[in-house]
Every structure is written in C-alpha cells, then in structure tokens.
Amino acid sequence: MSDVQRQIAERVARLLQPGEIVNLGIGIPTLVADLLTAADGVHLETENGLLGVGPAPDADRIDASLVNAGKRPVTALPGSSYFSSSESFGLIRGGHVTTAVLGALQVDACGRVANWALAGKPILGVGGAMDLLVGAQRVIVATTHTAKSGAPKIVSECSCPLSSDRPVDVVVTEAATFTLDDRGLTLVEVAADFDYAWVRAHTEAAFGSAEEAQL
C-alpha cells in the first residue's frame, strides 16, 4: 500500500468504535483491516456471507472457500458465522451494519457518492455498494483527495453516475476529514502535512468549516 493509502486507512481506523460491525469496500477501505487488532473490538462483515473476517492467511494456509467481497483469501475469527447472500444483504439493507467504509470516484456537495461507473462508459458492474449505501447506519467514504489527473473528487455535482440518493456521513482523504449534515459538507480535520488553503484549493464543492465557525 502507498503512504497516501495508508494515511487514509489510518484516519478511518481511528473513527471506528469497539463493538461496531464494519463492512470494508474494495480498495483503500480494505486496508483498514490490517490496521485493526482484536483489542479494537471491531467486527468485520463481508457481504458475500461472513461476519468475523480475520486477517489474510499465510500463502500455505489459503482456503479457496473463504474469501472477502474482493474475492481475496481471508480467515474467519472465533465467533464468526456464515450466511447466504439474501441473508447477508438482509442484514445490510436492514440497518444491522454499523459502518460501511467505501471508496469513491466522486462525492458531491450533498455527500452523495459516485463509486460504480464512469461517465459515458457502459455500466457492467455494481456489486453491493448500492445496498451498503442505503443500509449501513453510517457510511464513511475513504478516498484520495484528488484523482490521478489532479482533478478534485469532492465536487459540486458528480459527473459520474450516483450510487445512491443517500448522503454519506463522513469523507476521509489523506488531507482532510469532512462530516455531512443537512447543510452539506463540514471540514472537521486537516491532516498534519496539509493546511486549510490546500484543502480549499483542491476541493471543488462548497464546504463549511468547524474552524471557520470559531474564527
């Protein structure tokens, strides 16, 4: 994992509370798993049918019947359980997952996320992201602050198709953490290596700031 990815994953991990049921999406969110220990008391759930996801196995202990939603080998911790796809998504849509951590192509000013399809391309994959977006009690987006092109990913309006009409709750990048409420985005933290001006310059969407409120 790159330094930027690790920084984002670390910031997300700090937001998780003991006892939470957490679903980690593909990409940066998956990296959060490696930062958690049993002492954190977080239970990882994967939508292909397992509660109690453990760390990746050693190469010689891979079980072909035990994978996560990214189809990567995982282990199962004591106290884990398996379920069918309809049961698994019943748990997700029914609000029984405390926190979903998802990647994003873009997030708009209302906190709506686009994370499944590029603008103008044929749409041939969606997976479980839409279910997690409507069902999880809290959704944290974990994403780089800008695309590889340098373009902002937190934008006024998404050019990529939206994944849900439900706004997410938190957006975490390597530079900043935003929360969302009815008024839209609020900047609540700027990372050590960045400053407000950098965040302002690299964020297209309007946002308020807890700091501003104090000024």
């Binding site: 106290g79 379920f83 019943g90 748990l91 029914g94 029984h96």
Partner: protein, 220 residues
C-alpha cells in the same frame, strides 16, 4: 473488552427496556419457543403497557402474553391465531383489544421484510378473502396479489437455546419458529437463553442468528 459484559443483563433490566406504547415482537408458536420469563417479568414494569404485541398467538389463558392481556397491558395484537385463548376473544368482544389478523406466512414474511430493509411485498396469500379488504391488490401472472407492508418493533423478546458470549444464537428444534425473524426486526433485541457458551464453541456453519442482531442476553 469482554463483549458479554455489555450484552448480559438481568431479567429486571430486560423488562425495563419496554416502554409505554411500544410495539413489541414476541417469538414463539403457542408456548413453544416463547420467552416466558421475559414476558412475565414485564408484569413488574408498570411502563410496559398500552403495548402493541406482534406474536403468532397471545399465549394461553393466564400464561405468558395471556397474563399481560389479563392485566390490561395490551392494546393491540397482530398475529395469526388468537382463538386458542378465550381471554383474547373476550377482550376483543368487549372492545378492549384491537386485533389485526395476519396469515401466518404473511406475518413471518412481514417481520423478515422489516428486518431486511424491504418496505413492502406482494403475496398471493389472502387474495380474494376478507383479509384482503382495504388492502391494495395487484395482478402478477394473472393472479391477484396483496401488498403487505413490513412490520418492525421497538423491542423484540425472543428465545434461543444457547448464545455464545458475542450473542450468536442457536435454537432448539421447532422452538426456532418466529424467533430468528424477530431478531432482525426491532430496535432492541433481547434474547432469553438457556445457556451461554464461550465464543468459538458454536459451529460457524450452524449459527442461525449472528451476534450483530442481538442487543441483550438474559439467562433464564
């Protein structure tokens, strides 16, 4: 952190979770798989009143939910079969108990839907009967179906054979019935269990209710 320290409570604390006017899901088929200790503990909580009870039956005369009924705690019952308790028939006849009769399969499906984020569903069951009166209908494949809304509760009282200390549950034979469905469909889920075993001692392939659904455990 020992997860058990959070979930395991005594029966009085469990009874105190039910509040005036709550919708309460109660597992069991007749008295089989009924969380009787939890139900009867509600008698000690005066706030457990004006309840809407969702349960296949309302107990037997003077037992389980039948006792709550006799104490005037139940305002409305949603279930499939109340004729086996004459006290229910009498209370309904006196206008003291509202009854919403639901076919047994539709009851189970509506509770499952409530727990699975399904707002409503179309079922053939009940089409063309008195239970269809006032319900929205729609034809699928040339056959009339009824639209049925999901059911959720503020609290669910369920019964399982055993829990592990995380709260994973397994059941006992036909005492399973409505309990796993109700475990999904309430804001607070309290399971009365016969036994609590260490994490890791239940077969992960055989756990019926995963621990994320269970908020509180009572050993009784």
């Amino acid at each position: 952190m020992d997860p058990l320290s959070e979930k395991l409570i005594d029966i009085a604390a469990a009874a105190a979770l039910v509040r005036r006017g709550d919708t309460m899901l109660v597992g069991g088929f007749g008295l089989v798989g009924k969380p009787l200790a939890l139900v009867e503990a509600l008698l000690t909580n005066p706030e457990a009143t004006q309840l809407t009870v969702v349960s296949n039956n309302l107990g037997e005369p003077g037992e389980g939910l039948g006792r709550l009924l006799l104490e005037g705690r139940i305002a409305k019952a949603i279930g499939s079969f109340f004729t086996s308790n004459p006290d229910v028939v009498a209370a309904h006849g006196r206008g003291e108990l509202e009854v919403e009769l639901t076919p047994q399969g539709t009851l189970a499906e509506a509770i499952r839907a409530g727990g699975a984020g399904i707002a409503a569903f179309y079922t053939r069951t009940g089409a063309g009967t008195k239970l269809a009166e006032g319900r929205e209908t729609r034809s699928f494949g040339g056959l009339e179906h009824l639209l049925w809304p999901a059911i959720r509760g503020n609290v669910a009282l369920i019964r399982a054979r055993a829990a592990d200390t995380y709260g994973n549950l397994v059941y006992e034979k036909t005492a399973r019935n409505f309990n796993p469905d109700m475990a999904t469909a309430a804001d607070v889920v309290v399971a009365q269990v016969d036994e609590i075993v260490p994490v890791g001692s239940l077969d992960p392939e055989a756990i019926v209710t995963p621990h994320l659904l269970v908020d509180r455990l009572v050993l009784a």
